[in-house]
């Protein structure tokens, strides 16, 4: 019961899914939007503000729901906000083209007793369907203001704001509409009066409580039971009333209530179209309707997109394009944006103390590390942006519901949901994706069991960061079967993912309450550019906010683990001696020239840095430009430039000495960092777990690379590179040299481990956010480590035992998994027993 600042009026936007509520929200609030969670649940609470006649009004976008029951967390969040936070006004957004359904929602909203304004959205779509609902007539019937509008074109938003302003100014606290439930009314009133007389739950309208009690609403029942006095009086009364009802009408109260509401909604709908009530008195049959349903464009599109054969083909094509564009275009964009991050990186690094001869100041090392961890993730932003944009397009257009419709059967076999498709694609269903937005996208899955199963398998898909390692290993060990090996990696993850989803659904997820699938197939809409861009920006911004601190913290911890403890006294002394040797040698050479005294020990590192900077400046320049740069440098920095550019005989000889120092220093630095790394806590951990990973054929070096991949997957290839002391370009060669005992079987085990390895920490944080549970996050991490190691060990040990080559092991494993998938697909998941649930309440 948070109190939003007293003086700012609060307007809540309520509506069913697909009514265009978020478009209105964007229209009203513009860029001033924020997101939070409703207390205790993973339902996003969107809020923002707008100005009406110089008054700031705060706007809350309630989750889209069909009703206000206690069966879903969205409905509970919406209704608790309405009842407990007492917004000054509720704008009920309805889709004018499906007004019959929308009015059913409005009626329930009115019963909650707050002031309501109805926004008749998508009025243009209704007109195109030959429906002309009259706002005035509807307003009279409902006794609340009704505003027609077309949010996508901004038509009518001014009228809406004006009315909202007026209603707020009136400062009423209720609406005066009371629905008549015909034969049931006396029963409801009797219960409502008892509640009112007892003064029970005075925050909620008694009539509404009575209705909810007849609907067997468990949350309201709980509220009643909390107060023993109230329970004593009310519970037996409900029982008797319900019995009376079923005796008298041989129907349940619940069925009668919904029937009355639907009938009322339809009557209102027809009345708004200008038909008299008598025309359609008790019949809901729309064939007696003057407005005979004429197939719309949506129906024609659906006859292709939902078609038995064409549907899946179109789906495949659309998703293929979606995927290709976001990955290829995303990569291209990322490459274009990269110079920006690189300059940020250079800027920060230039602010740090300069590197040392062998040992860098810790602050430099740490600063470098942090900045690079951040830019590594920032690099993915363009891809996220495109992916979120595509998700917004699929959502806005209405196609997302069709994806669920077409694929639900297959996914349902494995305990997933039709809506699991999108998160899996984003996570990288074939090759290249990202688990972070993938896990975020699971929020659209209405079934908790399927949602959790999806969250658990999204990180197993092939995200972009796993690909470099695949490419490296396939390039070295499966060069002749590169294409088929990539196909293997691309599809094995999905096969294993489906198996895992099924196993989880049959075991730990079994007790999760089932949710009905039933979804609306909304009319198709052309997504507006503005909305899509807005949505992408918003989600990217949320991502940055959530991830920024996490990445900083985690990389700081990893830094400590790879940096400490310090080298032994003896080794430190050794490196110091080597440094002195090199320095004195160099200075001796200097002293032989007229540079003596001008170049001292302090100049060595700056000279080397200057050299590489100068090289960088001339990169990509032609001869003349390079000459100009040289001339300018000779003027600006004559001392260093004359040495590096070898302008004098003395400079030449010093340059020769410098080159020797440079190459020896590089070797020493490499040795130093390798030793430091090996002796670090992470390095020791890598060695300590060697016995465990031996079954999978991993050496400690690989262990270290894999451990560092926890921070971010792309680290694995980089760390392997660092460990083998080579730059990216030559990693493959050196890898082969240094791990000469490494066979294709080793490589296969390593790739498989990487595929099912735990989510990177950013993903793990997203898992936590989406499940609202640290336990689930830990489970995801441990489970995947075990699975990855298990599979790698199985493949490697069995492969070795049976004398398989890498390729043989690969396809044997593939066949094995495929078979398991088929078999496990046949195990039925216990059908949700909805009747039991009904008895309980």
């Amino acid at each position: 019961m948070s109190n939003i600042v007293q003086k700012t009026p609060v307007v809540a936007l309520a509506g069913q899914p697909n009514c265009g509520k978020s478009t209105i929200f964007n229209l009203l609030t513009g860029a001033r939007q924020f997101v939070a969670n409703y207390p205790g649940v993973t339902v996003d609470k969107m809020y923002g503000s707008c100005t009406i006649e110089n008054q700031k009004v705060s706007i809350v976008d309630l989750p889209g729901t069909y009703a206000f029951t206690s069966y879903s967390k969205e409905e509970m969040a919406a209704r608790e906000f309405i009842l407990n936070d007492s917004p000054d006004l509720i704008v009920a957004v309805v889709d004018a083209s499906t007004l019959d359904k929308g009015l059913y929602f409005v009626l329930q909203l009115l019963e909650m007793g707050k002031p309501v304004v109805v926004a008749l959205n998508m009025i243009d779509v209704a007109h195109r369907r030959g429906l002309y609902p009259d706002a005035m007539r509807l307003s009279e019937a409902l006794n609340v203001p009704v505003v027609p509008l077309q949010a996508t074109k901004k038509n009518g938003s001014k009228d809406l704001l004006e009315i909202v302003g007026k209603v707020i100014a009136k400062n009423t606290n209720s609406n005066s509409y009371q629905m008549d439930y015909n034969e049931l009314t006396p029963f409801i009133e009797k219960l409502a009066q008892t509640i009112e007389r007892g003064g029970f739950l005075s925050t909620h309208p008694p009539y509404w409580i009575a209705l909810k009690l007849f609907e067997d609403d468990s949350a309201v029942l709980e509220l009643i039971q909390k107060n023993s006095e109230m329970a004593k009086e009310i519970i037996p009364l409900i029982q008797t009333l319900k019995e009376e009802i079923s005796e008298k009408f041989s129907k349940t109260a619940l069925a009668m209530l919904t029937f009355e509401r639907h009938t009322k909604a339809r009557t209102l709908f027809k009345a708004s179209l200008g038909e008299s009530k008598e025309d359609s008195s008790d019949s809901a049959d729309d064939s007696s309707d003057k407005h005979i349903y004429t197939p719309s464009l949506t129906d024609r599109i659906d006859s292709v997109l939902c078609h038995r054969i064409l549907g899946p083909i179109c789906l495949f094509a659309i998703l293929f394009v979606f995927y290709q564009v976001s990955v290829t275009l995303g990569n291209d964009l990322a490459a274009r944006v990269w110079p920006l991050w690189a300059s940020v990186e250079t800027f920060f690094i230039s602010k740090l103390p300069i590197e040392g001869f062998i040992v860098d100041p810790i602050i430099t090392f740490f600063g470098n590390w942090l900045v690079k961890s951040l830019t590594a993730i920032m690099n993915y932003l363009p891809i996220f942006f495109l992916m979120f944009g595509f998700v917004a397009i699929l959502e806005d257009s209405g196609y997302l519901a069709r994806i669920a419709f077409v694929l639900d059967k297959i996914f349902n076999i494995f305990g997933l949901h039709g809506q699991s498709t999108l998160p899996l694609i984003i996570g990288g269903i074939y090759v290249g994706g990202c688990a972070i937005p993938g896990v975020v996208a699971t929020r659209a899955i209405p079934d908790e069991r399927a949602r959790f199963a999806t969250i658990m398998i999204v990180p197993m898909m092939n995200c972009l960061a796993k690909v470099p390692l695949y490419l490296l290993l396939i390039g070295v060990f499966f060069a002749n079967e590169a294409g088929s090996s990539m196909f293997f990696m691309g599809t094995i993850t999905l096969i294993v993912g489906l198996i895992v989803a099924k196993v989880l659904s049959l075991t730990i997820l079994r007790s999760y309450p089932p949710s009905p699938f039933i979804i609306e197939l909304p009319s198709y809409h052309m997504p507006t550019f503005r909305n899509v861009i807005n949505e992408s920006f918003r989600r990217v911004a949320i991502f940055i906010k959530k991830i920024f601190t996490v990445v900083l913290t985690v990389s700081s911890v990893v830094f400590l683990l790879i940096y400490f403890p310090n080298l032994s006294e003896e080794r430190t002394q050794y490196f110091a001696n080597e440094q002195t040797k090199l320095e004195t040698g160099f200075l001796k050479a200097v002293d032989k020239t007229d540079y003596a005294g001008q170049i001292t020990q302090k100049d060595i590192v700056p000279l080397l840095i200057y050299q590489s900077e100068l090289r960088a400046m001339k990169m990509g320049k032609n001869k003349d430009q390079a000459a100009t740069i040289n001339d300018e440098e000779l003027k600006a920095n004559p001392l260093y430039a004359s040495i590096i550019l070898r302008k004098t005989p003395a400079g030449k000889s010093i340059f020769g000495a410098l080159r020797k120092v440079d190459s020896k220093r590089k070797g020493l630095r490499r040795n130093y960092s390798t030793e430091r790394f090996e002796g670090s806590y992470l390095g020791r951990a890598g060695k300590a777990i060697e016995p465990i990973t031996a079954g999978a054929g991993f050496t400690w070096r690989i262990n270290v690379a894999l451990l560092s991949a926890l921070a971010a997957k792309e680290n694995s290839a980089a760390t392997l590179g660092a460990l083998y002391g080579i730059d990216g370009a030559t990693t493959a060669e050196s890898f082969k040299e240094q791990e000469s005992s490494f066979t294709p079987l080793h490589a296969l085990a390593l790739m498989l481990f990487m595929a099912f390895y735990p989510p990177c920490l950013a993903t793990a944080m997203m898992v936590r956010a989406q499940t609202a549970s640290t336990k689930w996050m830990l489970f995801a991490i441990l489970f995947q480590i075990t699975l990855g190691l298990g599979i790698a060990t199985l493949v490697f040990s069995l492969g070795t035992m049976l004398g398989f080559t890498g390729v043989e092991a690969m396809w044997t494993f593939y066949g094995f998994c495929f078979l398991i998938m088929l078999i496990i697909g046949f195990i039925p998941i216990k059908a949700p027993d909805y009747s039991l649930q009904a008895l309980k309440t």
Partner: protein, 73 residues
């Protein structure tokens, strides 16, 4: 007969919804309650779920859910 037995272009009227709880509630919230006319549109590519029209809107539901909706022609 139930909603599950409907086939191409059938139009039926809901007689009863034989289920309570969250499923019963959801069915009726989307308009599947006695007295409503349902137009069968199609089955999904793998025959499940099904696509029906009620009034001016379209919904999809699984066959395991449709079996609770009793209808008549």
């Amino acid at each position: 007969m139930t909603l599950n037995d409907m086939a191409n272009t059938d139009v039926c009227k809901v007689v009863n919804v034989n289920i309570g709880g969250s499923l019963g509630q959801r069915l009726s919230d989307l308009g599947l309650c006695p007295g409503t006319d349902i137009h069968f549109i199609r089955s999904a590519p793998f025959s499940d779920p099904i696509h029906v029209r009620i009034g001016y809107y379209h919904i999809a539901l699984r066959r395991s859910e449709a079996k609770y909706v009793e209808v008549e022609k």
